[in-house]
Symmetry: C2
């Protein structure tokens, strides 16, 4: 039995999984990321968990794939990830693991790229050469596949579609610019749109007496399902702005499909229907009706581990 190890590094948890090419996850492990304040101690812990996972399996490890915030594929480094405990700097995780495990296939990329590649290896993008995965979470991430390969660009950081300008002089973004798409189309963006509409209408929502920190995209989704007009309009507007900007991305790389991934996508047609409509309305005429927008087909519980491990299978396939 051949397997890949997938690692998902998050600010709260580091998760590991032992994954077959079929997408079956044969073993899981996890530990608390913030317990390791230095990169050295983190690498020690991670390596011991990888070793234990290998020792407990009786197959052949084909490699290790890692998804990490600001994970750089070219350098194999985690660059200045704001929510990891070891802070600023470039941390050469791939080199460290190569030194310890001597495996040829050890790769790292960011979460959204891993999600896109996971879709290609295990999910709904099997056999597709041109597609885009949009991940909706705290921000908006993107993985762009062109001619069957992830687009990394000149420095490994291509595909920052959350930071394209959706609204000139619009909302303030963490990156310092204004109007970035992720300030509208993300779990956080949904919440901001809800509060903007609440202000515009001067109230009128069933959940308006909850505080800012109590309300999230899910609470707004539930209110929308209960017929809350402001919550409904929030999802409508989120889909409109997302769809309109997807039309710009199509003009760039002309994908066959667009996959949406993440919590807000679980709202289903609440988000998808206005997204598809706005995409089609804003598409360059030759593409109208030709670009499908679909939810990711990765199983949610293991999506991050699957995405990470797909880096290994993708590299193995290219060798053949």
């Amino acid at each position: 039995m051949k397997y890949a190890i997938g690692i998902d590094i998050g600010g709260t948890n580091t998760k590991l999984g032992l994954v077959e090419l079929s997408g079956k996850v044969l073993a899981h492990d996890r530990f608390n990321t913030p317990d390791y304040k230095t990169f050295e101690s983190y690498v020690e812990m991670l390596s011991s968990r990888i070793k234990a996972m290998m020792d407990n399996s009786n197959g052949e490890c084909m490699g290790i794939g890692i998804g990490a915030p600001n994970g750089n594929f070219y350098k194999g480094s985690i660059d200045n990830a704001p929510n990891l405990p070891f802070g600023k700097g470039e941390f050469m995780l791939v080199r460290e693991l190569r030194n310890r495990f001597g495996l040829h296939h050890i790769y790292m990329t960011n979460d959204a790229n891993a999600a896109a590649l996971g879709e290609k290896i295990y999910g709904g993008a099997k056999g597709l050469e041109h597609f885009i995965t949009i991940t909706l979470g705290t921000g908006l991430g993107s993985g762009i596949v062109i001619d069957g390969k992830l687009l990394y660009g000149a420095d490994g950081a291509a595909g920052e579609l959350g930071h394209t300008c959706a609204v000139p002089n619009g909302r303030l973004c963490n990156c310092g610019c204004r109007g970035c798409l992720e300030t509208y189309a993300s779990a956080t963006g949904i919440k901001r749109t809800y509060f903007e509409l609440l202000a515009f209408y001067g109230g009128g929502s069933q959940i308006q007496n909850k505080g800012y920190d109590e309300i999230d995209a899910l609470a707004i989704e539930l209110a929308a399902r209960a017929g809350d007009k402001i919550a409904l309009e929030t999802y409508q507007k989120t889909g409109e702005i997302l769809g309109k900007n997807l039309a710009n991305f199509v003009a760039f790389s002309r994908p066959q499909k667009i996959f949406l991934f993440g919590g807000p996508v679980k709202s289903g047609e609440l988000l998808l229907e206005p997204t598809r409509k706005a995409l089609d309305e804003n598409l360059y005429p030759i593409w109208k009706g030709k670009i499908e927008v679909v939810p990711s087909q990765l199983p949610e519980s293991d999506a991050a581990i699957l995405g990470s491990s797909s880096l290994v299978w993708d590299a193995v396939e290219r060798e053949v």
Copy 2:
């Protein structure tokens, strides 16, 4: 001596050139496109000119490259080009030429893709793996190079950056959408901005008594050089909107450089200075100061023929 034949198909002229890998054009020819009302008669004329050019050379023809409006690389067809005399339909030009000349390397793409590849083979993009060429003419065309290859997307038509939305609910575009980048950043866009500013200020330009059809981007450039405030602001605003949108394109593919090509680029710093400033102001922070915007380095007189012929050298290089 090895050479490629480059063909530039335009609504007015069809131009041919015999080009060495160095970029030296050893022979030229041309004929009037509108004289041939059917595709069949056009192919006859084009073929006879290609044959004459080959017969008069004593080298080895490596192939034929064609740049045409709506030229599709995958299909080798000209698809519904509005300004060519044979009108609607898919015209299989590459197949026709393959049947007649039996050469392996016969390719076609659109003008902007040809300009980008010409930049890579003969111009300022030698050795670059990631760059974007923006052509400013009646509209805005784009050729996107990723990992050293032109981006064609799922149907051969990727890279329609002129039809990304620059201004929500903005100017009416020929494509039927509103606010497309090419309605602002193009020779036509410059003229529209000039008239918009003239209306806003209620006059105040030295050339305001010329009619709409008498004024073009060059006239506005000359007025700007003579200190005309409205003309100066026109170029300033054009650069601002172009630069702001280039920042979105960087977020997509993270190019090493961006090349600008076409008439309005000859205005030099009038356009380049505000473009570079707006690009840098709107870039995602990790890229600030890292993306150069430069004029194309293809010699203007032969740029289209060079671009077309580069399709051949690019394919020959890939064979080695």
